[in-house]
Amino acid sequence: MNGPELLLQNADILKSRMGACFPGERAVFRGHDLHVELKDMDWIELYVFGITGRRFSPQQLRLLNAIWVYTSYPDARIWNNRVAALAGSTRSTGALGISAALAVSEASIYGRGIDVRAINFIVRTRKAIDNGSELADCVQDELKKHRGIAGYGRPLSSGDERIAPFMALARTLGLDDGPHVRLAYAVDEYLLAGRFRLRMNFAAIVPALCADIGLSPQEYYLFVFPAFLAGMPPCFIESSQRPEGTLFPLSCAHILYEGVSKREWQSQ
């Protein structure tokens, strides 16, 4: 069935396995009564259950929680955070500023764009190696295709302060030695030996750990969506408390014009 028939079949009704609200009565969440069966879940547990439909161990949830904690920096200079902060400075609303800042976090050189490429690389490479491919060939193919490997190298620095505390936590939880994590380190060693100047960063180790606890690339992408969130409200609040319009004010001298010379507009 396709065309208008397919559309007609879906008109006026939501057919779902994900859930529904029955106002004044109850809410169903992936086949469970939210206020009876799921009422004791903490928020991250419910969030991951909503994405996957699966339950995770307390150790796995602790690790997933730490990913969000370790990536939330209340620094209003960072591009996505700056959006939340500018919204505060212009006296917009917190929801608008922070929503836009989260949307901006879906970037090509950091955030969600890198996350998607990184988990696809690690999952794909592990499968290829299991099927007999050489690590060096997989890495070289990726470098050739993308001129880099997502999760290795970082736009503004060469090291990553998040890896050591995160891996220490993963060790205490017994989650630091899965096949994808070992592969992420093997890629790092290969790049180091080849002097590629692409050191592993948090965006490589996190998808590896998440792949080891069973998240698919799409599940991982949706899970990390709020990764920077906790750092954004402080940026909004502080700029809201300053005099309006005083966050990073740009004078005319702050704009370096590199375009054509002045000319006269000719009406068509």
């Binding site: 396709n2 065309g3 208008p4 397919l6 559309l7 006026d12 009704i13 939501l14 057919k15 779902s16 396995r17 859930g19 529904a20 029955f22 109850r26 169903v28 992936r30 086949g31 469970h32 009564d33 069966e37 200079r77 917009s92 609303t93 929801a95 608008l96 929503s99 836009a100 949307a103 879906e106 969600r112 764009g113 998607v116 490429r117 696809n120 690389f121 503004l156 620095s157 690339p217 992408y221 004010p249 740009l250 004078s251 005319c252 001298a253 702050h254 704009i255 370096l256 014009y257 590199e258 375009g259 054509v260 010379s261 002045k262 000319r263 006269e264 507009w265 000719q266 009406s267 068509q268």
Partner: protein
Amino acid sequence: MDNDSKMEQIRTQIWLEEPEPDNLFATRAAYCHGYDVYGGMLGQSRWVEMLYLLFRGEAPTSEQAELLETLAVALANPGPRDPSVHAAMCGGVGGSTAASCLIAALAVGAGQHSGGREVFLAMDGWNECGTELAAWQLRISAPPDNKASIWPSPEHPPGFDPHGVSTATPVKQTLTRLAGIIPDSRLAWLEANLSSLELFAGRPLSMVGVAAAAFSDLGFSPEQGEMLHLLLRLPGAAAHALEQWQYGHKKFPFFKVELDNDPAGRTE
């Protein structure tokens, strides 16, 4: 990310601003690609000429301005059935902020089904295939690999209606009107070869396909076409969002739900 006391600058080839003598932060004159916006263009330039100038760096010819203006009228309101306008109305009906209604329209109108990303992909097709029918046939039968991206894999050839039966009348009317503006254009070629292209795609041309050809004729890059498509469809979204607030939520559809896995074994 070091703390450096020297003034940082934003580089631009688009915009020059000169300050008022008493305030570096107030503009005395602003130049867009060399043209004095408030002293020379205002009252002389049409809005679409400004739009074209901003993106292309040169004033449009009269034909180009007519093409962009005619396209802008065609795109101004996709109508309340369109998912992006539906999204804006979901904001409007609940009294959400004006910006959130537009953000909703942008987010839903950004995708690969009648949205900005579809325009991007269709324009990528024009860049690759030009007016070579055989190249289009090959591209439609074997679309480029889009894996490991934040965007899902396309489910239909970009620029064609996945649920269509025959070319919709407004699509034909728009194509005919636009194709008549610039001779030997891609739009004219599209109109002349429409039946062959629709045969390759197995689907009728959509408004996205017309818009992509028009943006391509105007010399815009796929990135610019994607932006303009997002921008030019906002007026309808805004008007319909405001209208639904006036009607009120009781007159806005909520739809029925049918759960496959209701723990109470019921559906609404």
